[in-house]
């Protein structure tokens, strides 16, 4: 996660940025049930509970294990997590165990009563997907009125005093809506916006892939709109997720717009964040208990929490993929260890390289930085 507004703000030292970073995070898809069909995210299984969902008792044992293992944040995702009947009990249980809990939702099922119940269960934050202005969002989510319902849901969460993050997943189609979405929702009191690059697992989702130029423009827009909002007195917090090539880009942006001294602090902070954390500080568990390396990397599972606890699966470095991810500098393509931004990126997304090329250690297809930008002198290295 790249905290753009903190980095481009006046207090971009590594300690401040570090203190605002969340700790080790596990995403648990509590259900496969969905009420809307999102066109880019295919983790849902349909309208009712899916086959083999972890039971309440299994979920509680999972939470105990995560807490004992030192996980800080549990993100409850779906499907649509609000369709799970025991959600409040699970949040309550996780809160008692000392975990922060974040609900990832499309927002359409959030009423004031529901939000109040989530607040009393101890929910730390709600992340609501808003992927464009009304018509675009409705099209992406396959239902007329989904945008208005998401906004009503956001208002309900705000009324219950639970912090809201709006999560905007960037595709070719919706990038032009970013500024207006931020303006509109900042007026509604939303203070935190996450701009997520699309990952993909299935071939048909690749159509949504933004090209390199479009991607650069999108990241620049996030930086510009952050400075612009701050100049206009809106203290919005902006984050970029899903592509650590952005770290190099944000650093270059800081050099251009804020000067060398501030950019040096931005660089230190980005290096302290440390780049892609797949296989390390982020993990994913699907609704059947299969453990994945990242939320988008669903086609490979390290093991299942019904066979042994998450902590045992995550500690087991006899698994060659896990071991190599933790020792990735030895394996990433040559371009990466020679890149000026390696320590703030660490080779980009291995899953994206695998999905696009069939080679886990190929170049991340979404690394849009040129050889010149990353300080590469030897063009033969770039081919890797």
């Amino acid at each position: 996660m790249i905290p753009v507004s903190t980095l481009l703000g006046d207090d971009a030292d590594a300690a401040t940025v570090g203190s605002r970073q969340r700790g080790a995070t596990v995403v648990w898809h509590v259900t496969g049930a969905t009420n809307l069909e999102c066109s880019y995210r295919r983790i849902g299984a349909g309208p009712g509970p899916a086959d083999g969902e972890l039971t309440t008792a299994e979920g509680q044992d999972l939470i105990d294990d995560l807490a004992a293992y030192g996980v800080d944040v549990l993100r409850l995702a779906g499907g649509e997590p609000l369709l799970r009947d025991d959600l409040d009990d699970l949040i309550d249980y996780a809160t008692d165990a000392g975990l922060e809990t974040v609900l990832e939702t499309n927002g359409t099922l959030l009423t004031e009563d529901r939000a109040a119940a989530l607040e009393s269960a101890g929910l730390t934050e709600v992340a609501v997907a808003v992927d464009g202005l009304d018509e675009r969002h409705d099209e992406i989510w396959g239902q007329e009125g989904a945008f208005d319902d998401a906004l009503d849901g956001i208002a309900a969460v705000q009324a219950a005093d639970v912090p809201v993050t709006v999560r905007f997943t960037i595709t070719d189609e919706n990038a032009g809506d970013m500024e207006e979405v931020v303006d509109l929702l900042a007026l509604e009191g939303v203070a935190r916006f996450e701009f997520a690059h699309l990952e993909y697992d299935e071939e048909d989702v690749m159509d949504f892939e933004v090209d390199h130029e479009a991607q650069r423009r999108a990241v620049r827009r996030v930086c510009d709109l952050t400075l612009d909002a701050h100049e206009r007195g809106h203290e919005v917090e902006t984050l970029l997720t899903g592509n650590y090539a952005d770290a190099g880009y944000v650093y270059q942006y800081a050099r251009e717009e804020l000067g060398e001294d501030r950019a040096a602090a931005v660089r230190d902070a980005l290096e302290a964040i440390g780049g892609d954390a797949a296989g390390e500080a982020i993990a994913d568990i699907d609704y059947q208990g299969n453990v994945h390396l990242t939320p988008d990397w669903q086609r490979y599972s390290l093991g299942n929490v019904r066979d042994r606890p998450f902590s045992a699966i995550w500690e087991d470095e006899s698994n060659p993929v896990l071991r190599k991810l933790r020792d990735r500098e030895e394996h990433v393509p040559d371009r990466c260890p020679n890149c000026d931004y390696y320590s703030m990126c660490r080779g980009g997304s291995r899953h994206r390289a695998l999905a696009a090329t069939g080679d886990l250690w190929a170049r991340d297809p979404q690394c849009y930085l040129t050889d010149e930008e990353i300080g590469l002198d030897d063009p033969s290295v770039s081919a890797d």
Binding site: I43, E58, D61, P320, L354
Partner: protein, 84 residues
Amino acid sequence: MTDDANTFEEGDQPRGRASREWEVFVRADIDGPLTHVGSVTAEERDGAREQAGALFEDPVAIWLCPDEAVFRYTDDAHTPGESA
């Protein structure tokens, strides 16, 4: 598995979501053990083999087993949901 004090829970919950799940075993060296290294999701055996081949470079053997053909018996002290 010979300790009579242990009881074993049979796990039969489904694991494939959008399509079938295949348990993957690899042998890294000819004199080493065959090791379970997780599972891949694929409709057909060929797709599962392709995925396993991309994830695990150069093993001397890859074994694939459809998830539904595996009967799992785990000591219930380590089975989630049994302690509640």
